[in-house]
Symmetry: C2
Subunit: 218 residues, 2 copies
Amino acid sequence: MIVTKTERRVPQGVIERLPGYLNALLHLRGEGCQTVSSARLSELAEVNAAQIRRDLAYFGQFGKRGVGYDIPLLVDRIQRILGSNHVHRIAILGAGNLGSAIASYDGLRARGFLVAAVFDNNRLKVGNRIGDLIVQDVSELNRVVLEQGIQFGVIAVPPESAQAAADQMCRAGVRVLLNYSPAFVEVPATVTLHNTDPVRELLHTLYYLSRADGVAGA
Amino acid sequence: MIVTKTERRVPQGVIERLPGYLNALLHLRGEGCQTVSSARLSELAEVNAAQIRRDLAYFGQFGKRGVGYDIPLLVDRIQRILGSNHVHRIAILGAGNLGSAIASYDGLRARGFLVAAVFDNNRLKVGNRIGDLIVQDVSELNRVVLEQGIQFGVIAVPPESAQAAADQMCRAGVRVLLNYSPAFVEVPATVTLHNTDPVRELLHTLYYLSRADGVAGA
DNA sequence: TAGATTGTTAATCGATTAACAATC
DNA sequence: TAGATTGTTAATCGATTAACAATC
């Protein structure tokens, strides 16, 4: 594994912002840009320009003074830092609308993820086609995760089955579990659980919305 | 609108944590609990107990010393603070897998949101049923948003149509726009845009995953 | 050289935490 | 009363920002 010189403890906020920078850089690269200034990146990523420079400085000196950052180089560096420079395999449990949406989500491939398998326990769904994949029976989960070295599991089942799905995924050996259901699930300490609740952001927005009615300002 | 006494400027971090508290409280209420201590809430919401007490104190005194917080009361208070104590209507543009998944997402109803309409520009999808809803042609968007007082718009179309979808939603008059596509979209300053990128969290997790291989600790 | 933009310091700002008196 | 837990202060910690010398 390649690690850049300065390996101080990097604040979590920095790591959380890197994917946003990468996103903007991929967008710029797609438009054919060669270099970008922290000022321009600031607009796209909605982060203060000084902070971008400071964040990147945790990992080395990637820019040229007077010029800016070389986009392909910076993309590569950030991908290495995050570990998205090689492909990571994902297994999805649940082949309903949510599972299908995630399996065919455009943003995954471009950023180093590959949906390697989709499982369901419903006989009617097993055998269905989702993009290039065939839905497999959940009894195959252990074998496939092991054989393909799958590290990421996605729970895309109804909330009442979420815990059972999580248990199966953990037994199969995934390292990270993404829970898209609104249920609480528990996992062993060796597995990293991410509860990604799409409603949480709506609620948070609501607060500012009701204030914006009465008062000026965002 | 009911507002509690202390209306100091509330830090953004507090607002972002409230939905997590609410989530945990709804879970506890579902289990039949009457009261909860900040220590117990701390476990469920994964936030320091002192911080929970401090966060809540921005809005008033909701607890009883020696006892804890009354769950139904606290649920009600947080819902009022966030504005989720009355129903907010959502329109979804895009009736594919993603749109269907969001439309039938269990977590919405429980937390004050109602998917009021789903639109698509594909003749083949117009007229389809998703739960209780019939997919409508996108030409109906303006009328329906106006008539039903819809404030939230969700973009669930392929990335290449995302900007066009955003424009239509903004013209129709939504106040908040949730973009689930990996595309960059621009909106007028009067509309709040939320880019909810499910891959961002995966990338962020990846960083810690690669470190966990070599070093001890989370 | 002149202009532009980085890398980095120093100052500010705000969030987090521990601790404890108040009080149920 | 004794035990428990809040509300709140005070101390710490870390993140953000402005500013500017270094340098392309």
